[in-house]
Symmetry: C2
Subunit: 316 residues, 2 copies
Amino acid sequence: MIQSPICEIFGIKYPIFQGGMAWISDARLASAVSLGGGAGLISAMNAGADYVRGEIRKCRESVGSLIFGVNIMLMSPFADDIAQLVVDEKVPLVTTGAGLPSKYMPAWTAAGIKTAPVVPSVAVAKKAAKLGASAIIAEGGESGGHVGDLTTMALVPQVADAVDIPVLAAGGVADGRGVAAAFMLGARGVQCGTRFLTATECNVHRNYKDKILAAKDIDTIVTGKSLGHPVRSLKNAFSRRFFEMEYDNTLSKEAIEAFGAGSLRKAAVEGDVTDGSVMAGQIAALVKDEAPAAEIISRIFSEAENILRGASEWIK
Amino acid sequence: MIQSPICEIFGIKYPIFQGGMAWISDARLASAVSLGGGAGLISAMNAGADYVRGEIRKCRESVGSLIFGVNIMLMSPFADDIAQLVVDEKVPLVTTGAGLPSKYMPAWTAAGIKTAPVVPSVAVAKKAAKLGASAIIAEGGESGGHVGDLTTMALVPQVADAVDIPVLAAGGVADGRGVAAAFMLGARGVQCGTRFLTATECNVHRNYKDKILAAKDIDTIVTGKSLGHPVRSLKNAFSRRFFEMEYDNTLSKEAIEAFGAGSLRKAAVEGDVTDGSVMAGQIAALVKDEAPAAEIISRIFSEAENILRGASEWIK
């Protein structure tokens, strides 16, 4: 078994978090990951407290005393409500995206909630550590959905140097090689999103899963750079058109934003993978089968353990 | 010492190539890297045969029987001349960028030249292997200069799966952690560019070196995406203005190209790091000192060896 402070801090068997994916990471996926020995995360996305409360309760019913968490998108109009909800519901773990949870941290810490902010840079990582985070998720721009500029290979060692709490590497990790590489870079765990899209327990639309399974290395594209919030998704009619619109000066930013609105739901829930946004990381091409979350996790770590155990053989 | 088929194939002590950097990778830098136990590369950039022949002869005089090479930018107007020159001068190693050297490979193979094309994707890697390349340099988009989309973390395992010749990882590698991670991902060596910018023997302008030494994690930017040839450089007045121009529909592509022309020379040779292009990878922030190339290499591998040797300790 792999040893990591991440396992000790969060009480998990394998040092792996499942990424909070809007419209996708619900109680079913999160509980499957937690039951599989990782930390499952419910995405609060832009949803209100009623929906999130329901998912939290379903998840807890499934996982019993195992850890699970809520991923809070800090730009959500309901962020304040969800920040209070996780305290009221005694959710054991919170991850955050799109900013820093500065104003919520005192209440979360008082409630004994463990926290792991997702960060795109050294400066944000340092601030998160100062706020008292339990760990840092350093996310490279090869990941799916909302992305930063720095890649995992460049970001992880710099964040590991900058903070004295454990770092999880996110972005570009879908197998044991990625986990082993993350450890070499100074991470003590990983967060995977794209790999769990084809978990048996993932409720994302069948068409979305099939699109992931068919993806090749060069099939993702980043859109939204000109709007200040870049997003990585698979190339399709929607993302290509979005990309063109960004270079069209005759269109207002509002028009481009309007074109993108609702596009993830369209793909993930309705299964329209042509005109919807199929968010995924560059590592989608390494996702080659559908399998139960627990099997995905045990496979990744069995491979990682073999690679790490054999690493010293490169040295003579 | 680290063991790798790259060392055997290329007859080098450490499995490291120095990236071919236009206006920067001359005989002095290349020979210092080769004398330090790696493979030094002279950049042929857009130069004619007379300049490149001079550098080849200077390099050979310095390194004696050690391996060194020429990096051929295949879009150069003089590519045909340089492709013949390396045969005439019996250069032991050729790396290529910006395409595939399909038409030159028979002559190079016949001349016993070892080849390692730089590739940005699985499809190009497969073609390069089919052409009879000795190794593949899989370059992630976190690297400096001309970049592809895929990051090192995502690209390297996919290329390693796709070809049966050894892979060198390029992009995001500046220390032993990067080398160790590259090995875990399936690479058997690395190529470093940015790290060698501050080698004592690197003739790049003092101002350029200082700019690299001062760089932070988020200090690079990619420009030229709209022109079809993205380039990563440090943020400065030049790159910021270039980025803005790309979103300005009133400007022709030709006008934008003209704005960029000569900008690397301006920074690297003239030292204008404000209005010139200071090409560098995201890992520039890990480059913290100037040191002889041989010391840079031995330090990187001493760290990599320690990390790889200790990797099995993560498994209990």
